[in-house]
Amino acid sequence: MNEYTVELSDNGTIAVDDTILVKGVQSAAGSRILEGYKPLFSAEAVTRLKDKGYVIAGKTHVGEFGLDLVGEFSYYIEKEEDLKGAAASLISKGEIRAALGVDMNGAPRRAAALSGVDFLKPTYGTVSRYGIISCAASGEQLGVYAGNVKSVGEIMEVIAGHDEKDGTSLKEATYDYSTEVAVSGKKVCIIKELLEKVDDGTRQRVNAFAEKLRKNGVIVEEISCDLFDVANTAWQILMTAETCNNVSRFDGVKYGHRAAEYKNIDELYVNSRTEGFNFLTKSVILYGSDVLSKDRYDDCYGKSLKVRRVAAEKFEELMKSYDAVLTPICSKTEYKAYDISGAFETVFKESVFTSVANLIGIPALVSGKVQLMGKHFSESVLLSLAGCAERVGQ
């Protein structure tokens, strides 16, 4: 399989996923609706990397708008039996050092786990979202794939920081991506309810990772916490609603795919969008449309906003006793190809491990095929914890 949608340089060290704009290069978020769309400007993160002398190797495949598990439903790739993400594969093969990805519903985190590489979804507002094909603005965040935590930290140093072109970009945040914070005596919790949702192999991974932490003097405790299912439902509601709204601009009028056959403006919209979106995106549009409708708004969207507030408070409370949460990131050790008609439910279920980070904007690091989450701006703690586990493994 070719992981690139467009290859840009033989001596490039960084890849950029297809949801992130690179000036003059087709950026289509894995969707037919944006076929041939060449943006007039690059994403802020891409510009910052180029300014520091990093060379972009190419653009990597993503599933349409990042809505699937790991990138299996892109318009631009052939179906494969074993699912794995393009950017994560390139890193695990050693072809590139790092890659940028957009974490909107956990796809890059799951992909990193399948390939055994790292991915950091940083704190919301720390990396500019200027120049990403935005779907769920309130929780999506640009993050970094790399082969080890040091490389993740190095790239984060370059791309993080205030950008006036993004109204949600934080102004006075303090950033720390060091990987050498002392971890001895830190406290990490494992969530019982999440371990019950995974297969034996995955459970063993979490336990093995916990052992490595303990060897470094970290205290690891299993606790019970009911936050994750409700956070998942809330995020899926917000995410589908925001995505439905953001992809409504892709209508065949201005750019990208336009149906060949139409008699009037309504047919132009309907035919272009019918042909341009895959079944999963259509499911998300319908679901998102429904939760925003007048009759359902209060029970769905409005309630989810309240859940977001409560979840943030609850997580903050938990973080008074612990420095990080250790969880699985996928329910299985590997994913096999499946039919797109079941994709919406499959992704919904798998997102129970990822949604809370999108919902409340906390950092989430996948490393050693497991996930660490912490309070806002605790990236250096997460990177250091993963870093010490990395060293035990060597």
Partner: protein, 474 residues
């Protein structure tokens, strides 16, 4: 039976900001050609994020202060979803849940007396683009996309067409005087909610909404047509009234149904996650209050006290540039009544000669002050002052330098004037003779001849004085 008409207004006003509401493209009226004030953001391209233009908030708050509103200290934006080719993102960013201003009122004076109209809310939003239809094709022009608007929503407090038009004129004067909007045709658009009920009834009748009218004339005609339609329906059962949205057709002078309650669109509003809530703290509010111009009625009173004529006051309160210029030159030490003459008579005359209007007046307050002070101090005469004013308006010259270069401030002493006058009398012996024979008009001819002979270098008052002396001595 006698009927009472009940109306509420939603008025959209395009704000006079330099740039659009969420991007740095030129704002209202900046564009010359279709799509020459557009960028990836206001064209709905992916990857661009809205960034709030603070000036919009300040103008909206100013409007709220002028309409006696409560100013929200926490205000947020929502997305309103609908598909139309002139709406590139397929959603409009507007304010639903936390509008910038609420609970105001405006006092109207009409032939039936004075009444307050309650303002329900003022909110900020972005305008849509427009479609240009040519033959079988339609073209999208996004110049107007994301131009900032405020929408002023009243309670159903209007009882006559006269009140509606008075209200709109008042908004227009206020917004122009405050530099909020020029409110020219197309920049002020109105939706009118109309219902009719038997006089004395306290229940509302069936309400219809007439959408998107841009001229006062259309609004007046549409209301008259629609009220008559309602009354006919009630009195003669000509049709069954339903709650619906209607459009006014200028050609036929009638309104037509667009959509009713059942087919009404669900706009699926939700809070825009790309725009953080705006917090208006005390300091910012005080700063806006300080910038807020004096309320229009108070301003008129100030001008009246300064002895400015009613006609001039009317010109001033309808023209922000002119009233600001006047206020500025007064602040620089000029007399208000005198300065008003320079602006509203002399400048307007010069502009008219150039095919322009008062709205086009572009002169620095310092330059006008310099001219007025040169005249007032007697260093030049009024005629020279007007010459300099014309040069400043037409060519943008520096008034003091221009005066020097053209020797307009050359001092002419009385002896010189008298000797020139002697020559004039010799050359115009007939006129002198006529004057002596009782033709008063002949004096004017002699006066003009003196001015010409002195090449406008002498003070006209002195000429007149000396001329009178000479004529009475002879």
């Amino acid at each position: 039976m006698n009927y009472e008409v009940v109306m509420g207004l939603e008025t959209h006003v395009e704000l006079s900001t330099e740039s659009k509401i969420f991007c740095s493209c030129g704002g209202h009226s900046a564009a010359k050609e279709p799509n020459d004030c557009v960028c990836p953001a206001c064209c709905g391209m992916p990857g661009m994020l809205p960034v709030m233009n603070k000036k919009v908030v300040e103008l909206a708050v100013t409007a709220g202060l002028m309409l006696n509103c409560e100013i929200s200290r926490y205000t947020t934006f929502d997305k309103k979803n609908y598909y139309y080719p002139d709406l590139p993102c397929a959603y409009q960013i507007t304010q639903l849940n936390h509008p910038i201003c609420t609970n105001g009122f405006v006092t109207l004076k009409t032939s039936t007396g004075e009444r307050d109209i309650r303002i329900n809310r003022i909110h900020m939003e972005e305008d849509a683009g427009k479609l240009v239809h040519a033959g079988k094709a339609s073209y999208v022009d996004n110049n107007r996309t994301s131009v900032p608007l405020i929408e002023i929503v009243t309670e159903p407090d209007f009882r006559s067409v006269e009140e509606v038009i008075t209200y709109l004129n008042k908004l227009k004067s206020m917004f122009r005087s405050a530099g909020i909007s020029e409110c020219e045709e197309g920049a002020m658009r109105c939706d009118v909610n109309v219902s009719v009920r038997p006089e004395g009834s306290t229940e509302f009748g069936v309400r219809t909404e007439i959408k998107n009218m841009a001229s006062f004339e259309a609004i007046e005609k549409a209301i008259r047509y629609e009220t008559q339609r309602h009354m006919d329906a009630i009195e003669f059962e000509t049709e069954e009234l339903v709650q619906e949205t209607r459009r006014y057709d200028d050609a036929s002078g009638k309104t037509f149904a667009m959509r009713n309650k059942e087919t009404a669109a669900d706009y699926r509003y939700f809070p825009d996650p790309n725009l953080m809530p705006i917090i208006i703290d005390d300091e910012w509010l005080e700063r806006i209050k300080a910038m807020k111009p004096v309320a229009i009625d108070e301003k008129a009173d100030v001008y009246r006290e300064a002895g400015i004529s009613e006609k001039e006051i009317d010109m001033l309160i309808h023209n922000y540039n002119a009233s600001k210029l006047l206020d500025d030159v007064v602040a620089l030490g000029c007399d208000a009544k005198n300065a008003a003459g320079w602006i509203l008579t002399d400048s307007v005359g010069i502009l008219r000669r150039n095919g322009k209007l008062l709205i086009d007046l572009d002169i620095r307050a310092e330059d006008l002050t310099a001219i007025i002070q040169m005249v007032d101090s007697g260093s030049i005469n009024r005629m020279s002052g007007k010459k300099i004013l014309a040069a400043v308006i037409e060519m943008g010259v520096d008034p003091v330098a221009y005066c020097k270069e053209n020797a307009l401030d050359a001092k002419v002493d009385e002896a010189t004037i008298e000797s020139v006058m002697d020559k004039v009398f010799l050359e115009n012996a007939q006129a002198h003779e006529d004057y002596k024979n009782g033709k008063v008009k002949a004096k004017q001819a002699l006066f003009g001849a003196c001015i010409r002979a002195l090449k406008n270098t002498a003070d006209t008052d002195i000429i007149r004085e000396l001329l009178d002396k000479k004529l009475s001595n002879l």
